[in-house]
């Protein structure tokens, strides 16, 4: 069972790095877009607040939850490979 534990541990560490990097990247892209949107439309008022509201919406969005696929996809992939290698 040690080999499986090692695989799970390595996968968890690597995927967590990917997950955190992707989350930070995606949030930064969203922030850039919100700032660009504000500047383009030339709105008046608090730019910071507009961006913060936008990011709060983003935190609840499906798009952000889709990043969890970083964990789900490899697990499904491993299951598929095990099936096709050993039972087909």
């Amino acid at each position: 069972m040690f080999a499986l534990a090692r695989l799970v541990l390595i996968l968890f560490v690597v995927l967590t790095i990917v997950y955190v990097s992707l989350s930070l990247y995606s949030r930064a892209v969203r922030r850039d877009k919100l700032e660009a949107e504000w500047d383009e439309e030339g709105q008046s008022g608090d730019r910071e607040a507009f961006v913060r509201d936008g990011l709060e919406d983003y935190d609840q969005s499906l798009r952000r939850k889709l990043i969890l696929g970083v964990y789900v996809v490899p697990i499904l992939l491993i299951g598929t490979i095990i099936y096709f290698t050993n039972y087909n």
């Binding site: 040690f2 080999a3 499986l4 090692r6 695989l7 990247y25 491993i78 490979i81 095990i82 290698t85 050993n86």
Partner: protein, 187 residues
């Protein structure tokens, strides 16, 4: 000078990645299986080219019995495969059915007079100087020695890797143009 150093490093890196992928990705051979056997192998310098799968058995040992599949290519050259579990380790084939595969391979044996051609999916290299063998993943009966097996899995993996590389590369270039180059120009 700097130009040559840069390109040498790039070429070395590409060669290393290419070699690694060539060893790891599955490829297909159409062969005629003549015998299957098991032989004790004591690993030495070549131990990295043998699976150390830890599928319930001890990994403390320095030698063990390994299944082999002996075959001939359509052009008459022999090719020998090992048949080992890769288990949960690298490369990620998650192969646990070594004994079953050996049974299938034994079942598909044929003679030169009445050949049965078999597509063997394998990864790895046959290298006589190091006594290393490709690891057989699956065997499948095919129509004849000219059957062409399209390696869809390898193609998909290469396409996915290419897409990931492009995605990271284009973002890195953008990042460099926006954040790093202005800093260097300012000096």
């Amino acid at each position: 000078m700097w130009y040559y150093i840069k390109w040498t490093i790039w070429l070395l890196l590409i060669a290393m990645i290419g070699t690694f992928l060539h060893y790891t990705l599955p490829r297909n051979d159409v062969v005629r299986i003549t015998d299957t056997y098991e032989k004790r192998v004591d690993f030495g310098d070549n131990s990295i080219f043998w699976a150390n799968s830890n599928t319930g058995e001890s990994t403390e040992v320095t030698g063990r019995d390994v299944f082999f599949i002996q075959a001939f290519r359509p052009n008459g050259n022999p090719i020998i495969y090992r048949n080992e579990d890769t288990g949960w380790g690298w490369p990620p084939y998650f192969k646990f059915n070594t004994s079953n595969l050996q049974a299938h391979a034994t079942d598909l044996q044929s003679s030169e007079d009445a050949p049965r051609w078999v597509a063997v999916k394998k990864y790895g290299w046959r290298m006589q100087y190091l006594s290393i063998y490709p690891n057989a993943i699956s065997v499948k009966l095919v129509d004849g020695p000219d059957t062409r097996v399209i390696p869809w899995i390898s193609i998909s993996i290469l396409v996915v890797l290419g897409c990931i590389w492009l995605a990271i590369w284009s973002r890195w270039r953008k990042f460099r143009a926006k954040r790093i180059d202005p800093l260097l120009d300012g000096e």
